[in-house]
């Protein structure tokens, strides 16, 4: 009996600690420590975190007095949610193998709808719902152009960005909308107030990042996004509706951009016709600085969220370190290039 069990080849394994067997089977026996395993499984995210820490350290050494003040970081945190709300869906779009440049105009459009609803005297909560619906519809339109009309996502979304921004300009003739009563509403207290010195929006944005990261890694939709970006032909052969998956990612960017639009209005209680324009390049840079691969199929939500903080911090950091504003663009470029080099070395592209 013992003899057969041994020849069977499986029974002796059961005698061992099941976890050990699994680790050996996965080639993880060398990584006994939890820390090393964590580092290996989350290389891109850890990489972007290292970039952030190194950058902060450099700034701190440059001017310890300024960078030990909480206000320095608070200023960055206030603007961060706007970036986070678009960067996270952008990771989905990039993973699926596309790109979306139309989100700045969607931010503007959704913020406009929000401002109009609030200005008309309705509760800001209704405004948020209206803005989200606007974002979803715009995202679906952009997605339809790319997925079903078969346009290149680079050009089609760029065109949509100009067109939607143009519509805003035509209709508002450049006039902004100030929402004086907004800070007094309960909705604003919940979504835009302060919580022990931390802007509440940051907490909401972090919740958003956490949920989206979980969906990205553990939900069927997230898996399909990976598969379609990795090998669309295979995904289709295995019964995944690749067009629908692509369309959904564009709709998701619309949703994120709408939340960003509302967040942008809540910072200064004012909507500008240019709202969202300044986020195009920083948001895109954040996605890649964070360690999401430009070729599709793999990415990291957490990493890109850290990348957003890195990119958002550059401007305040450069000025805070005592350099003139003329250095900002140079440092933007430097940090983007350095992180991309780092990630290129850090991850292998399998074909």
């Amino acid at each position: 009996m013992t003899d057969t069990a041994n020849r069977d080849g499986q029974s002796p394994a059961k005698a061992l600690d099941a976890d050990t067997v699994r680790r050996v089977a996965e080639g993880k026996h060398a990584d006994r420590s939890r820390l090393r395993r964590f580092l290996r499984d989350h290389r891109p995210a850890v990489g972007s975190f290292v970039v952030l820490v190194v950058m902060l350290a450099c700034f701190f050494v440059g001017n310890p007095e300024v960078f030990s003040q909480w206000n320095m970081y608070r200023a960055v945190l206030i603007g961060l949610p706007v970036v986070l709300f678009v960067v996270v869906p952008l990771v989905y779009v990039v993973t699926v193998g596309e790109i979306d440049l139309s989100f700045p105009a969607t931010i503007g459009m959704a913020g406009w709808v929000f401002a109009l609803v609030v200005q008309a005297g309705y509760d800001p909560f209704l405004g948020i719902i209206a803005a989200v619906l606007t974002g979803l519809v715009l995202g679906l339109c952009v997605g339809w152009l790319v997925v079903y009309a078969n346009l290149s996502s680079l050009i089609a979304t760029l065109g949509m960005n100009f067109m939607l921004r143009g519509l805003i300009q035509i209709n508002t003739e450049g006039k902004s909308i100030a929402l004086v009563g907004l800070p007094k509403t309960l909705t604003f207290q919940i979504f835009g107030g302060q919580f022990f010195g931390i802007p509440v929006q940051v907490l909401w944005a972090m919740l958003f990042v956490a949920i989206c990261s979980f969906i990205y890694n553990r939900h069927r939709f997230g898996v399909h996004v990976h598969m379609v970006g990795d090998n669309p032909d295979a995904a289709q052969q295995m019964g995944i509706n690749i067009k629908l998956v692509r369309l959904k990612t564009f709709a998701f960017v619309g949703l994120g951009a709408a939340l960003a639009g509302v967040a942008a209005v809540m910072i200064n209680y004012t909507w500008w016709p240019t709202s969202g324009d300044g986020y195009l390049l920083p948001a895109l840079a954040s996605v890649f600085v964070g360690g999401t691969a430009p070729w599709g199929g793999i990415g990291t939500i957490i990493g890109s969220a850290i990348g957003s903080f890195t990119v958002s911090f550059i401007q305040s950091g450069v000025v805070g370190a005592g350099l003139s504003g003329f250095y900002v663009q140079f440092f933007y470029g430097l940090i983007i290039i350095l992180s991309l080099l780092g990630h290129r070395w850090n991850q292998v592209r399998y074909r």
């Binding site: 080639g27 990976h226 598969m227 052969q237 399998y350």
Partner: protein, 260 residues
């Protein structure tokens, strides 16, 4: 005759005036490896597509476990337990083996979230069934790290999911080294030992001869030869027969339709 998984009777397929298949009989029994060979244009691909339900035969009868079926299509084919591993393997190379095995039919809970543990256990079971175990790789390894033969193993493991009875392997050893080919053969034998049937399509006669129990040679849309390994004796006999088909010898008589 043991358990007959599928039987094709007098299958004809024409594209306009051109006959891709001109009356083919083919059957696969449980637990056997059938080698399908034939030159380019002999009708191998058409036959595979008909089995997979992707192409509808012009005329002919399809019997699944002895029962005639109507309205044969891809869905029916899968229901009948037929899985096809196409030449390009259809793998997402930057993802884990688990994700590839469950591609398009992930095990999820009511909210659509993955049952991670269950998927891992199921993947381990499938990989064990074909002997696809290694000290270096496990179910969470990235497919891109695997060699060509091992990738074929992932594709075969995926095809075995859902209790498939017949796995069609379309040229699984093309562009593989000798050791890689041996690996694929190992997976195929293990799958057969687990009670699955295999239809093995290949260009390399020696490969097909090594792995198969029975052979079907297609020539210009007809079955030119059906023989068991014992009847043929050696790979050379099969090669000679194939050469005779391609360049009919002195007698000048074509040997189509004949059986040994």
């Amino acid at each position: 005759m043991q358990n007959r998984i599928i039987e094709l009777k007098d299958i004809k397929k024409s594209y306009g005036q051109v006959y891709a298949l001109g009356g083919v009989d083919l059957h696969v029994d449980q637990g056997e490896v059938v080698g399908l060979v034939g030159d380019n244009g002999a009708g191998k691909s058409t036959l595979i597509k008909i089995l997979a339900g992707a192409v509808r035969p012009t005329t002919g009868e399809i019997l699944v476990r002895g029962e005639p079926v109507s309205n044969w299509n891809a869905g029916r084919s899968r229901e009948a337990g037929i899985e096809t591993v196409f030449q390009d393997r259809a793998l997402a190379v930057q993802q884990t083996i688990i994700w590839n095995i469950f591609m398009g039919r992930e095990l999820v809970g009511p909210l659509g979230f993955l049952k991670v543990r269950k998927q891992r256990e199921e993947a381990e079971r499938l990989m064990r069934e074909i002997g696809f175990t290694s000290k270096v790789f496990g179910p969470s390894s990235i497919v891109g790290q695997l060699s060509g033969g091992e990738r074929q193993g992932v594709a075969i493991a995926r095809a075995m999911y859902n209790q498939s009875d017949l796995i069609i392997l379309d040229e699984p050893t093309t562009a593989l080294s000798l050791t890689e080919t041996a690996k694929v053969f190992h997976f195929v034998r293990q799958a057969r030992a687990a009670g699955r049937s295999i239809l093995f399509i290949g260009h390399n006669i020696h490969h097909v001869f090594d792995i198969s129990d029975r052979f079907v040679v297609l020539d210009r849309g007809r079955v030119a030869l059906q023989a068991t390994k014992a009847e043929l004796g050696s790979a050379e006999a099969l090669v000679r027969f194939m050469e005779e088909l391609a360049h009919p010898g002195g007698a000048g008589v074509q040997s189509t339709g004949g059986t040994v």
